[in-house]
Symmetry: none
Subunit: 210 residues, 4 copies
DNA sequence: TATGAATGAGATTTCATTCAT
DNA sequence: TATGAATGAAATCTCATTCAT
């Protein structure tokens, strides 16, 4: 009767639960995670969890969706608005973001998408449309801007902006699978990659005709 | 005259079973694959499967191990023996192999390792030691050879040979997750990447001093 | 109005389940009893049973333990406090208890311990320490009391109090194995035994110097 | 081709198999023993075992039956023919046999009969008729002989010859269940018991009117 | 809302038994 | 006879989901 009323009544229960689920999925993967475990982590009863998420799969989808943050849009418009040269942007804001990814929750999402994605085509579609494609578009725009400004020569990066972020994905994979045995210097890897790319497409150098 | 209830008696039943398991894992992932299903695919009873593999996990390990073929060693010695220049090797045998990977069983292995690897540190260790590390060593040797011969300038590739194969991994990931919606031209991607890299480190060009 | 699918909610479900298990074990022995069967007897689903007892073996242990009632302590102190002569105690309370054993659940326990005990050294140790040893101590004390009071002559019963209860165990064995074919008059057997023993060690007779 | 022909063709295969089965049952009990295991111990293939014993249960019966040795008949006629006094016989041949039992295969049989007997009424009937009843008859005859000769007073042993052997059974039980923790001096126990009984029924003493 | 005891379908695993060789 | 690979029925155990409270 005298227990504090406030502080118990959380209105963001769903968020707490998806956060707990993300943590659980991160440790054991989707299939090996028990709903019981998620509920316990969230400090909530199983029944309540099912009040918010009708099935385990629904919970999974919520977790995935909750991390489709609109950062991409921000990045996109950043590129457009930015006063920086394309090269400076790559070396600055982009590099910073790229380096932060391998140790962010994105790593968990990657693992989840690789493991469970094929069973959830709608989720992967959603992801492709709302995260991956916009991001690639933004990168393509960045490259185009560099070409337009005379910084870059035309190159395959226009067709394959994926090449810019491939090492970021690689770092995440490595971290997921091999970190226990041998950590990779993902910062060094990613920086080196960006420099190599810039070196390859800078207008000031005579690179190959890719 | 009727179909024999007890089928053939083979010496390579284990191989048949791991092959069936790989196929099943490819379709559903490890956790969602029923042992029943693997047995059915292999044309074998559940009981027989358990005669060869004591647990489902044991079967998983056998699948993983059975695909750690000594191809890597072959590649390694190829590089050493090859009369080709490093550049020619990259554009020839290496590129061919790199392009073949995204559609090979390797893709399935990647999915399995990402999803289940964290639960099997010994398997990932085995993999790192017997596949990944040797492959990276071979690449490093190739780059070194190119530098020694004057083809390449010293570059970050010496420290991060992973950069050479990152797009290959990227292609596999993309294929696993997004192929249903949008196929990636992995051949073009990988070729472009190799050319970009060659352009970046060729001694004949004045790129940055990464 | 229809029978509720989810039945009552009790606090002593474990006790209900161990009781059901004891009954099932009594009929079929441990190994031949299906967990399913125990659940059905307890009016409970298999799943619930596993909620309380993690494995069938755990259930077995719980059954065994649940019957290690502290009756022995009661008996022990009874002997100490009793105003009766040792002879009267043997012919009275002790005989009554001894005669009741062959038709009590103890019989089932004996069967279980004989069949499964060797695989559960910790359980047998527990049993020896908490049931058998105390009981033998109590008997030894009783005999000693009789000797001290001049009722009994010193005899082998001091060293081997087991001799007092051997026919009780024998009755249980007979009952387990042969009751279907030929019931043994265990009451007569046990009474006769006690009288023979008393006759053999009474100070008023000149028996052998065992 | 040159392998020795002889010494491989055993005509007493069944006996070898039942012996192996007894050993296996002794270690794990009937239910927990795998037919595979018995075959391996017997140095024989599973198929061959099934050629001799149609089912595992059949094998069990064979094991039980194979140990119904006709020793009892020997004992019986021994008693009849013996020139010894009943007392001397009890202290001599009988005691020797009684002491040998707790460490003989009989112990295994007891365990098997207690665990599996209730499921095999025909086996227990067979046992009762061919082993237990004759043995009790022999004991009864021995006691009667002692009474007739004036050695013993009439006593309950005439009605309950089981009392003579109860401690033997007790020793076996103890050995099965508790030997790991605390060995019982079964020789001392049994000797003491016989002496107590003789003391109780000897005509030369004034025991109670049992 | 909130709980957690209870369910039941289904997955893994075991093993007596069969049969092609 | 003799083998042991192969079967399949059945047992143990798991866990997403439900529902009385």
């Amino acid at each position: 009767m005298s227990a504090p009323r406030f502080k118990r009544r959380k209105e963001d229960r769903p968020a707490e639960i998806t956060a707990a689920a993300l943590a659980a999925f991160a440790e054991n993967g989707y299939a090996a995670t028990r709903v019981d475990d998620v509920a316990r982590r969230a400090g909530v009863s199983k029944g309540l969890l099912y009040l918010y998420f009708a099935t385990k799969e629904e919970l999974f989808r919520a977790v995935i969706r909750s991390f489709v943050v609109p950062k991409i849009d921000a990045l996109k418009s950043d590129i457009g608005k930015s006063e920086m040269s394309a090269t400076a942007f790559l070396r600055g804001p982009f590099l910073e973001m790229a380096k932060s990814l391998p140790n962010s929750p994105a790593k968990i999402l990657v693992r989840l998408m690789v493991a469970e994605g094929p069973k959830h085509p709608d989720l992967t579609a959603y992801y492709l449309e709302n995260v991956v494609a916009p991001a690639l578009d933004a990168l393509r725009a960045l490259i185009a801007k560099g070409v337009a400004s005379g910084e870059f020569r035309p190159s395959a990066l226009d067709t394959y902006p994926q090449l810019i972020v491939a090492p970021v994905m690689f770092s995440m994979l490595w971290s997921i699978v091999f970190d226990t045995h041998h950590k990779l210097d993902s910062n060094g890897l990613i920086e080196s990659h960006i420099e190599l790319l810039i070196g390859a497409i800078s207008a000031s150098t005579q690179g190959e005709k890719t």
